[in-house]
């Protein structure tokens, strides 16, 4: 299922509802809204990437501008190779389900993910299996996050759509599910639909 090449990082902070992972590579972040998993095949926790940061390793020490004499941005990193070690990329994922090789449940797992658990970017086959049900949308739209939930839902659906051959049909089905969930809040529904409508 998951290849070592899909591995994007390691859990450095975990709670029932979310986990934070540090990337192995600077800027090796999974896209906003992508489905990631942590844990082994027997007990896997699924999350959706909702936030990412790249900053100095030491909180008190901010990076300084270095490119005055450089021609290109790449030049900065080449001439200061220590930067790769002084900066790090982190992302936060909202827990939307858990499962094993037999079944996937789209509700919160009994225990949070373990620290240092390897985080994998789910391959499209797994995304497809996961997105057969839209129950996770309810978890998404009911949380409060630093980013706008509508933005996150739209990003997630766009990401998941890429895994489906018939992206149009997938988005339509998701849209109808949202229309039911947001039946009494048309303005939120419209914000999401406007972001996932095919061009």
């Amino acid at each position: 299922m998951t290849e070592p090449s899909d591995r994007v990082g390691e859990v450095i902070e975990a709670s029932t509802t979310e986990f934070v992972a540090e990337c192995y590579e600077l800027y090796g972040l999974p896209p906003l809204g992508s489905l990631v998993s942590v844990g082994d095949a027997a007990d896997k926790t699924f999350g959706i990437v909702y936030h990412a940061t790249t900053a100095s390793v030491e909180p008190g020490r901010r990076p300084i501008a270095r490119g005055k004499d450089e021609v290109s941005e790449e030049g900065i990193y080449k001439s200061s190779p220590q930067l790769e070690k002084l900066l790090r990329s982190e992302f936060s994922a909202l827990v939307v389900g858990h499962g094993n090789s037999e079944a996937i449940h789209q509700f919160l797992p009994p225990k949070p993910a373990r620290i240092h658990g390897f985080v994998y970017l789910c391959p499209s086959e797994q995304v497809k299996t996961f997105s057969r049900s839209f129950d996770f949308l309810n978890l998404l739209i009911t949380t409060s996050l630093p980013v706008s939930v509508e933005e996150l839902v739209a990003a997630t659906l766009r990401q998941m759509g890429q895994a489906h051959e018939d992206k149009q049909a997938f988005l339509k089905a998701a849209g109808r599910e949202l229309a039911t969930l947001l039946s009494s809040d048309y303005s939120r529904l419209r914000a999401i639909l406007g972001r996932i409508a095919p061009e």
């Binding site: 149009q168 988005l171 339509k172 849209g175 109808r176 949202l178 229309a179 039911t180 039946s183 009494s184 809040d185 048309y186 303005s187 529904l189 419209r190 639909l193 409508a197 095919p198």
Partner: protein, 539 residues
């Protein structure tokens, strides 16, 4: 219109026995395909319900949608919102129910006493459902039309139908006459009843014209010559129209009774007192009272007579004027040589149906006078025959159905209690006589009579009072009202009452083309010779 059998429409979301149930449509069912008056079945947990769509509406989950409508040109948006945030609802009035157990299946559909449980599935009634409810054409049931938008044949149980008095209503030009012809043919074929038709406009015996006036439409005598006799009041007129008549009706003065004057009071413009005077004169002079009244001159004797009877001079003159008007009708003679009633009863007893044509006497005076007079005497004879058959244990006379047009003239509240037709309508079939009332102003008919009509068939009506009077006392009145008001102006009618298990709007069977005649006659057990005759008629 979708032709699918039993297409699923949606689910029940709320409702009550009194007001009917709300059904939320699935996104696959288009609101525009729904039609008021169509039949649906609802699968409850323990029983099935049959109901009629009586209203269709649009709903949104969030009022914001109506304030800030989405961009409907975007196919994605419209497909996502359709059936989720925006949806259609239909209002269904459940009318019949069939329980799931074997006993209820044998019992057949019963009137509704409950509502289906929440979220029961609703689908369009299939043809099989309809024939379960309305039955199929057989020796008792007669095909009169199709439920709206369906191919099912709607069949009336005619022996059941003629057990009570019935009414056909509708505005002028909505197809009452055609409907009546179809029903008469049905009764002639499938019920044991004989018909007596007071044919004011000469439409039922021999060919009449269709509404457009271009096409000739055959009538009863042409289709069933061996079962129908045409009587006429106006032999010249019948001859001119090429009608083969069986009997010329003449009426003698001595056959007219003061009761007849009651009905004629309005049309003859005579006073109440004059009608009272008629009774007194009848007592005084006996059967020849009209002749005697017309004969008395301005003599001393007359004055004395009036004094003796306590009749005022002007009252007497009013009555005389009225009687003179009657006397001017050329079918009225001082003394009729042949008794029309005897001859009529002779035909009826043989099982023949009689159409009485009025020829050129289309004014209401002649119609009311003749219809009332004949009906009264026939009814009296039927009463006699029934009583004799009960006491002597002999066969009862054939059930008789009397068809009258312009029924409000006979059955208005003022005269219904005194005229013979009011009695027939009220006493129903105690004496094997019932009425088929045809009228365009049902509000003019006495409420008591209206309430006694078993089955009512109504074409389009648009006067509020008429609609109210036709639908008085029917359950789900306001819902039926919206169905009735939306009938097409032609060939559509709403049937409800005794002969049908639930109200049903129909498109009436075709009548007037050679094909349609074949359909009617084919159903009769006519002999080979008759069939051959009819074949010739079509050529």
């Amino acid at each position: 219109m979708s032709e699918e059998k039993g297409q699923t429409l949606g689910i029940v979301v709320s409702g009550s026995v009194d007001k009917g149930v709300e059904v939320r449509l699935d996104s696959s069912a288009s609101v525009e395909d729904m039609v008021v008056g169509r039949y649906v079945t609802i699968e409850g947990r323990q029983r099935r319900f049959f109901g009629m769509i009586t209203d269709i509406s649009l709903g949104v989950t969030d009022p914001q949608l109506t304030i800030n409508p989405p961009d409907v040109t975007d196919p994605f948006l419209s497909e996502v919102l359709n059936g989720t945030a925006t949806y259609g609802t239909i209002h269904v009035l459940p009318m019949l129910t069939i329980g799931g157990d074997v006993a209820s299946l044998i019992e057949g559909p019963q009137p509704v006493k409950t509502v289906p449980s929440h979220f029961s599935g609703v689908s369009l009634a299939s043809d099989a459902d309809m024939s379960l409810v309305f039955g199929e054409e057989d020796e008792n049931r007669f095909f009169i039309g199709n439920p709206l938008d369906m191919e099912t044949k709607l069949c009336l149980d005619l022996p059941e139908f003629v057990k009570r008095s019935n009414g056909i209503f509708g505005k002028s030009g909505t197809g009452k006459t055609f409907l009546t012809r179809i029903l008469l043919i049905g009764m002639l074929q499938k019920s044991q009843a004989v018909n007596l038709i007071f044919d004011m406009h000469n439409e039922y015996g021999w060919e009449g014209s269709s509404e457009e006036g271009r096409r000739k439409v055959k009538a009863l005598k042409q289709l069933f010559p061996e079962k129908v006799a045409v009587f006429t009041l106006d032999p010249e007129n019948s001859k001119r129209r090429g009608v083969s008549t069986d009997f010329v009706v003449r009426i003698g003065y001595d056959e007219i009774e003061p009761e007849d004057m009651v009905l004629l009071r309005q049309t003859l413009n005579i006073t109440d007192l004059a009608v009272e005077a008629a009774y007194q004169l009848r007592r005084r002079f006996g059967r020849g009272w009209i002749q005697s009244t017309l004969d008395v001159g301005e003599s001393e004797d007359t004055q004395e007579l009036l004094k003796e009877l306590n009749i005022h001079e002007s009252t007497f003159q009013s009555l005389r004027r009225g009687l003179q008007t009657i006397g001017r009708l050329s079918f009225i003679e001082p003394h009729a040589s042949v008794d029309a009633v005897n001859s009529l009863l002779g035909y009826l007893n043989k099982g023949m149906n009689v159409v009485l044509e009025f020829g050129r006497y289309r004014d209401i005076t002649a119609y009311v006078l003749v219809a009332n007079m004949l009906a009264r005497r026939i009814y009296a004879r039927y009463q006699e025959m029934m009583e004799r058959s009960m006491s002597e244990d002999i066969a009862q006379p054939n059930p008789l159905v009397i068809t009258i047009e312009e029924a409000h003239k006979f059955l208005n509240p003022e005269v219904a209690s005194r005229a013979i037709f009011g009695t027939i309508a009220r006493e129903m079939r105690k004496y094997n006589v019932s009425l088929l009332v045809i009228d365009q102003r049902p509000s003019g008919i006495d409420d008591e009579v209206m309430s006694q009509l078993g089955t009512k068939i109504t074409c389009l009506l648009d006067n509020e009072k008429d609609i109210d009077s036709v639908l008085a006392g029917v359950s789900g009145k306001s819902e039926l009202k919206s169905v009735l008001a939306r009938l097409a102006p032609k060939q559509q009618a709403l049937i409800f009452g005794h002969a049908v298990p639930m109200p049903v709007p129909i498109r009436t069977r075709e009548y007037g083309s050679a094909e349609s005649y074949k359909g009617f006659v084919g159903g009769a057990d006519a002999g080979q010779q008759a069939k051959k005759d009819i074949e010739e008629l079509w050529d």
